[in-house]
Symmetry: C2
């Protein structure tokens, strides 16, 4: 891996290079995606069946688009029972963690009869997109569905592209069943997003769509935003390891590579104050790459977006970490909790040398759907928050309104909104 | 106002008609907006000064774009002191309510050395758009800025178009100062959104943009979403009054009109089980319209999107209210709290005959920036939540990782991610 001594120039270049991976840069597919959406809006089922034939080479119709109980049973019989067991353990941990995120309705009242509050309600219907083929990850199904279930969402409709044989990968179906999906449809791509957003004869419309997908899926989600809600648009994966001389170089190298294997746009960065660690990590990376099954992807990812960055001080390393705002941040220093207090921007923060990033991807419980590409500056991990919404509650008695009504009338009149003023003043006109 | 006995056909037509008001229908301005954004990205200050000259007829340059302390002092001297007083009282109520929304970081630990948690951090820099001219509402400044301040946002940059004389309306400046804005720039329209998103010589980039604006502002916000975060895109205002025979028809009529005066796209709907109430409200509406200063707007709004809907049962009325998912919902029935328990979708819920909607617009404390156009099915009122983000915290000891590490390795290998498996297994290789 290339090693760079960090200065303002190199930092600027690296930050710009990382942002180029954003899905916001692929506007050239917008027309294709918009056409698909329009077709599905106007021709509904007919259009999604045609697109499924064209893109997935599968014959899907009104009779087989919805996955049956029999197909789910078949999936269980096909999957290694020890994998089913691991999926169940992970699902339980994810459920336990996300229950702690639950928010509750509240109110505050005064003896004059005024009451203010906030009511929390689950979103009624959620669509979950699950990629097909090589990117069908059961862990991703768990991470997208369980927070919705914990929030109390009644309808959780999953969509995923079928194989040529019209089937869905068994791991996806088992994870969906374990997580609590209420219905599963064999359709993928922008056409699936359009179907969830506007409804078709076979698929009822939902209120919000979550889940990862390719560039067509990402652009379709962006296009339908406002008609429905969406999760944040996912970019390529990232890891940033912030380490001092106390870190184990072999562990650091292995963790960098665990992100690099995702795809060629993934980014793996070590920031350290230790030249010795930098050198050792670089050596260990080379040794590992040679042995790993996805070495071509890893090498390209490292060549494109992999860096070892040397800083003079820990403060400079922390500042850079906040500017990069990485999806995953590992802190492997002598006092990781102290460093954590200074971290402003990161999707998930892993503390100490045994908190390897895949622990969070699969098992510990926190969500692995995290803000990428610098968006941890303003977005959060997927959570129960994404599947609820709030309503303000305002209840005033005559006794509570009377002492303030003239102030409200004055404010409304000052803004020229006389009908607003009128609706308050007529209540005290006698 | 027209009165309609609700059936499935009329309900469908009304729901479709309301959705036509969506800002998502104005795609024809997209090219203009995209051009402005590109110009500001490449030519920065130069471009925003040119657009301000073109659209606002004001001479703005690097020397006067930022509002000075002197200009703010001048604003205080121009504004009626009793209005300053009302702004302060309202700001205090808004502050008190929003403090109750604060969320806190938490963690949970086990004696084996595993710790999971969630860290809450304020967003670093927020931009607040404030319309100029007739739509410059001090109340809107308070509602957009105070939640950011309560959340702990360090930089709150306000942008608003100047008048021809290069000045900002004094009410806007006073409200901004009272609410705690840290910097104010004289620029509006799509060019202001672009400047906040990408930065210029005079305006540093922010992480999130909130605040209402015209169609150009709304489309610009949609276009930059992903580069920065935005609030939900506001549509025209709405009120839905759900009332039974116990309601005071004069109060109901006045409240319907308080929304109708906003603009011609605003919607005012009464749903009631009482034919007598329906008739009386219709009469009272006619009487009020004749007296109100904004009667032309009100009449057009009522003709376009005003309805009195009669239902046979209260259940049917409630179900329709949930389908409309109104921005403002007033419940004026014998037992409004009971009805409220059945409400799933509404921005703000006003209970009882003295909880008139303008009480919420100006004074009670809950936010008046609310989801419109059916988006209360998935969006929430603007709140402190909009100005924070979360990071997951994961810290495992060797002791905590050891009993589960084989499960993680198995899961990672099942997904074909061998570098993920490797990063766990090497920690136990000795």
């Amino acid at each position: 891996m290339r090693t760079i001594r960090l200065d303002s120039e190199s930092k600027k270049n690296i930050l710009e290079s990382l942002l180029k991976r954003s899905p916001n840069q692929y506007e050239e597919y917008t027309n294709t995606v918009n056409n698909i959406i329009e077709e599905v809006k106007s021709r509904q089922d007919e259009a999604i069946f045609e697109y499924t034939k064209e893109f997935d080479k599968a014959d899907i119709n009104a009779g087989n688009i919805k996955v049956t109980e029999e197909e789910i049973e078949e999936a269980y019989s096909l999957l290694d029972p020890s994998i089913v067991e691991v999926i169940r353990k992970a699902a339980n941990n994810i459920d336990v963690y996300h229950r702690k995120q639950k928010q509750y309705s509240w109110f505050d009242s005064e003896p004059d009869g005024s009451l203010l509050g906030q009511k929390v309600t689950a979103i009624g219907a959620v669509g979950v997109y699950v990629p097909g083929g090589k990117a069908a990850y059961p862990s991703s199904v768990l991470m997208n569905v369980i927070p919705a279930k914990v929030a109390g969402v009644e309808r959780i409709a999953m969509v995923t592209p079928p194989g040529r044989n019209g089937k869905i990968y068994e791991g996806t179906l088992v994870a969906a069943k374990e997580a609590g999906v209420t219905e599963i449809y064999k359709v993928g791509g922008a056409q699936a997003i359009a179907a969830l957003s506007f409804g078709t004869e076979s698929i009822k419309k939902v209120d919000k769509i979550v889940g990862p997908g390719n560039i067509y899926v990402a652009l379709a989600k962006k296009a339908v935003y406002g008609h429905v809600s969406i999760d944040s648009i996912a970019g390529p994966s990232e890891i940033l390891v912030l380490a001092d001389e106390s870190a184990n170089p072999r562990f650091v190298a292995a963790d960098l590579l665990s992100q690099a294997e995702h795809d060629e746009l993934a980014s793996s960065i070590l920031i350290t104050t230790s030249k010795e660690l930098a050198e050792k990590v670089s050596e260990e990376v080379d040794k590992f790459v040679a042995q790993l099954s996805r070495k071509e992807i890893i090498q390209k990812s490292l060549d494109n977006y992999g860096y070892i960055l040397l800083t003079d001080t820990l403060e400079e390393a922390i500042e850079t970490a906040n500017e990069i705002a990485s999806e995953h941040l590992e802190i492997v220093t002598k006092d990781p909790f102290h460093v954590m207090t200074k971290i402003k921007n990161a999707g998930a923060i892993f503390l100490g040398e045994y908190s390897s990033e895949p622990l969070g991807d699969y098992f510990a419980g926190p969500n692995h759907v995290l803000p990428t590409n610098g968006t941890a500056k303003f977005f959060s991990p997927l959570s129960v928050d994404d599947f609820i919404k709030k309503s303000s509650i305002i209840a005033y008695s005559k006794e509570a309104l009377e002492p303030i009504y003239k102030d409200i009338v004055k404010f409304a009149n000052a803004e020229g909104l006389t009908a607003h003023a009128n609706s308050i003043s007529i209540r005290f006109e006698e």
